[in-house]
């Protein structure tokens, strides 16, 4: 049972992939690409869903998929035009298939009429032409093989064949004890050359016949050409088989020849229906047969001598030692050795088993297994850095081999880490491909005309991040469609094209992945945002904010400027949820807006979740780490050019630019004994290129750390992105540079 469950799990996995594929293909089809490849891919996806579904008996799913598949088949070969309504019907059908799959997965039944309308439409379009032989989709998957009709018209042996008439049982053949009281079957079989070309083998057919009853087989050879003219696939032989099988039906015998039907001349006839035990008349020696040429070699003999029918032919080519006619051995139950090994003179089994190639280019691995490896590699990194830290100067001088070994270990660990992370990487396509559909829904509901452009779908990113990306991205796009893009009338009035564009793109930038959602809408209404922020006391009444700071307010908790909560964006969750989701996976969000021209939201995500390059610093005797990716430079405080603003806040002047200063000791309310001038400034760059000067007590060095979630292990803290365990076992907190900034805004506002 567990096997079946495993298969089901595989099947449902596969279904989700196929359904995603369907969406992708239809997105392309909708945008005008109607190439045969797309339609074929769609057809295959539905076909696979149907095929697997039938294996598990999901009959409702299979029935619907079958009708849909028939339509697709008609579309594919042009019998039905892929018009707009048909496309819409197909997209709807995809949803229904998805619903059926979901129901099957949950072990539920959808209502009996579910999808019936669409099914009726398929039938109308295909005019009930089922495409397959039988209309009933479930019965199509009959477990039985379909019996094949035998072409009796071709029963006569071709001219020129030496034909040995076969007498009834009890003739000169050393016949086995006969059980054929109800008569026997005479089968005449002449292969065509195609039969050999398709790797069918008469010998195997005889073996099968022998399973039905006792058989006698005689070969009838045609004139064999000289060896030079001999064709391996040539037809030089036909066979006369006598089958003593009391209970065998003609259908059973025909089934033996099922695979060669059409590739041979075959006649099956029941003769001498005897009611009593065989009472042989005067034996008719086969030698008396008119065409008993010496070339007639009993197939049974050939079969005994060679494992292959081809070899049997070769055997037959040798001068017959004696008239073959007198030595027909019963070929009952071909020796079992034929069921075993096979070492014919062809290309198989040449040389030792070559297993270098596994035959698969990819394997599927349970994500848990990979995660275990990722975790262990993470621990390995920590251990390795701990070892490296333990090496003081004395040890270094004394154990040079050890030092070299540690260096190699560090390198290998790094390589291992990269490789492991690469296993988890997946293209963002899987998330992006869900968006066109969302866009259709949004267009329909808002009455706005919106076009979605995507770019960089093949950018790869950690699977876990991808999984967590879908919701925030959906929300951002909803937000753009709802609040960004204007109504067609408003756009016309503003001199813009009626159709708005939302552009979704992904790219790798250094150690991060940037995902950008851009629209060409009205931009953020800053007056309104600021007003709401002041009303809700997010911003103080006198506090002045830059445009950029106002834009960023849309991510503040509980913030929503939508005048009426709309069906789409306003679902009780604001953009703050986006921010917290993104933060959870170590990313950040930045928004920029241009009034009347549009808004751009940028998600910056780490390439991987687990490991971070950081600078280790000390504040109030505790270690902290700052992500290296956000550090611009470090400056000694003694050399830094600080000044005070009229408000009392400190700023740092760097190359003519004033940068806000955050003293980590102050920020985290800790006391430090380190003299101001021996402290350091770490110049960081937050989202959107905004710099910030973070003051710390000391800089210890650069290293890699494994990120541990603070929320999972403790709770969320503003300004802290997570924790990590250092080489010496102590815990260090990861400074959230972006969070420090917003923290300032909130703090001064409060």
């Amino acid at each position: 049972m567990s096997d079946l469950d495993d298969f089901k799990a595989t099947y449902f996995d596969e279904c989700s992939e196929l359904l995603t594929e369907l969406e992708e293909q239809f997105a392309a089809i909708e945008s005008g690409d109607r190439s045969g490849d797309r339609l074929n891919a769609v057809f295959r996806a539905i076909h696979s869903i149907k095929g697997g579904g039938s294996a598990f008996g999901f009959s409702a799913l299979v029935g619907f998929a079958h009708a849909y598949e028939t339509l697709l088949d008609h579309v594919r070969d042009g019998r039905v035009e892929l018009s707009e309504p048909v496309t819409v019907l197909c997209i709807r059908a995809n949803d229904i298939v998805a619903d059926f799959v979901a129901a099957a997965r949950a072990g539920e039944e959808l209502g009996a009429g579910y999808g019936a309308d669409e099914k009726a439409q398929f039938d109308a379009l295909t005019r009930g032409d089922d495409g397959d032989d039988d209309g009933a989709p479930i019965e199509e998957f009959d477990l039985d093989f379909v019996p094949v009709m035998v072409d009796l018209e071709r029963a006569d042996p071709p001219a020129g064949v030496a034909f040995i008439p076969v007498a009834g049982p009890g003739d000169s053949f050393a016949a086995p004890p006969l059980s054929g009281e109800r008569g026997h079957w005479e089968i005449h079989f002449t292969p065509h050359r195609e039969l050999y070309a398709r790797a069918n083998d008469p010998l195997l057919l005889f073996r099968e016949l022998a399973a039905l009853g006792d058989i006698q087989v005689r070969a009838e050879l045609r004139p064999i050409p000289p060896l030079a003219d001999f064709e391996p696939f040539g037809v030089y032989c036909s066979w006369q088989i006598t089958l003593y099988a009391p209970s065998a039906s003609e259908a059973e015998i025909a089934e033996v020849f099922e695979f060669v039907d059409g590739n041979c001349d075959l006649s099956i006839a029941q003769v001498g229906l005897r009611m009593a035990a065989p009472a042989p008349a005067a034996p008719v020696p086969v030698a008396e047969a008119p065409a008993a040429e010496p070339s007639a070699v009993p197939a049974a003999a050939a079969a005994e001598d060679a494992p292959l029918s081809f070899a049997a032919l070769a055997e037959a080519l040798r001068p017959a030692p004696k008239p073959a006619v007198d030595a027909p051995a019963p070929a009952t139950a071909l020796p079992p050795r034929y069921g075993g090994g096979y070492d014919g003179a062809n290309d198989r089994r040449t040389g030792p088993e070559d297993r270098r190639a596994t035959g698969v280019q990819s394997i599927r691995v349970d994500l848990d297994k990979i995660d275990r490896v990722v975790n262990m590699v993470g621990e390995l990194v920590i251990t390795q850095s701990m070892l490296t830290q333990q090496m003081d100067e004395t040890l270094r001088a004394r154990y040079q081999e050890l030092v070299r070994g540690l260096e190699v270990l560090a390198q290998t660990t790094r390589g291992l880490q990269d490789s492991v992370m690469a296993i988890r990487a997946q293209p963002v396509k899987s998330v992006f491909s869900r968006m066109p559909r969302l866009m259709r829904e949004l267009s329909a509901r808002t009455g706005k005309k919106i076009r979605l452009e995507t770019a960089g779908e093949n950018t790869e990113i950690d699977k876990t991040i991808i999984e967590q990306l879908s919701d925030p991205l959906t929300h951002m796009i909803r937000n753009s469609a709802d609040h960004g893009i204007e109504t067609p009338e408003a756009r016309r009035a503003a001199g813009k094209p009626e159709t708005g564009t939302i552009r979704l793109s992904a790219e790798q930038a250094g150690g991060s992945i940037l995902i950008v959602v851009e629209d060409d809408g009205a931009g953020i209404n800053r007056e309104r945002v600021l007003q709401v922020a002041r009303d809700r006391m997010v911003v103080g009444p006198d506090q002045q904010l830059t445009d950029e700071q106002i834009d960023q307010l849309i991510f503040a908790p509980g913030f929503s400027t939508a005048e009426a909560v709309s069906d789409i964006s306003g679902r009780g969750v604001g953009m703050d949820v986006v921010l917290s989701n993104i933060k959870k996976i170590g990313g950040s969000v930045h928004v920029r807006s241009w009034t009347g021209r549009g808004t751009r939201m940028t998600l910056r995500l780490p390439l991987t979740l687990a490991v971070l390059d950081v600078m280790l610093v000390k504040v109030a005797a505790s270690p902290y780490v700052i992500p290296l990716s956000s550090i611009v430079e470090t400056i000694q405080c003694a050399r830094a050019n600080f000044s005070r603003m009229p408000t009392g806040s400190r700023v740092l002047q760097v190359r003519g630019e004033y940068v806000q200063v955050v003293d980590l000791a102050e920020r985290f309310e800790m006391h430090t004994d380190v003299a101001a001038e021996s402290r350091f400034v770490v110049l960081c760059e937050a989202e959107g290129g905004v710099k910030m000067a973070v003051v710390v007590d000391d800089i210890i060095g650069q290293q890699q750390v494994v990120i541990k979630s603070l929320e999972e292990n403790f709770q969320r803290i503003d300004g802290i992105a997570g924790g990590t365990i250092l080489g010496d076992g102590s815990v260090a907190l990861i400074v959230d540079v972006q969070g420090l900034r917003s923290g300032i805004a909130h703090k001064s506002a409060a």
């Binding site: 398709r198 062809n346 035959g359 698969v360």
Partner: protein
């Protein structure tokens, strides 16, 4: 005995693998015709089971190419299909298919069919 299974459906590959492995076969897998050809380049197999509808290279083309190599004339190739339509099956046979298996297969039947074409 080694069987090469060629199907783009992981479910089918898994079920074939289970059935065949239980029956003592060694099972190789490929997800489309091209991969199947690649496997046959380097591996010796005793029988091939292939789907018809596949991306990259479908089963019919796969069979045609296998036969066209001239090195696999006696390699039995079974066509795996849900389609009872004579049409696909005939195409597969015309390309050089030895026999066929109708999906969904019952394990015993599958093994029987393989034995029908195997020496």
């Amino acid at each position: 005995m080694r069987v090469l299974t060629v199907d783009d459906s992981r479910t089918i590959l898994a079920m074939l693998h289970h059935t065949l492995a239980n029956a003592g076969f060694e099972v190789l897998q490929a997800e489309d015709g091209q991969q199947g050809l690649d496997v046959l380049e380097t591996e010796n197999v005793d029988v091939v089971i292939t789907d018809i509808n596949m991306p990259v290279m479908d089963g019919i083309e796969f069979i045609r190419r296998v036969r066209a190599t001239g090195r696999h004339n006696s390699l039995p190739i079974l066509i795996l299909t849900t389609e009872t339509s004579q049409d696909k099956r005939d195409q597969g046979r015309a390309a050089g298919g030895t026999g066929w298996i109708v999906k969904p297969f019952d394990p015993e039947k599958l093994i029987n069919v393989i034995h029908r074409v195997l020496h």
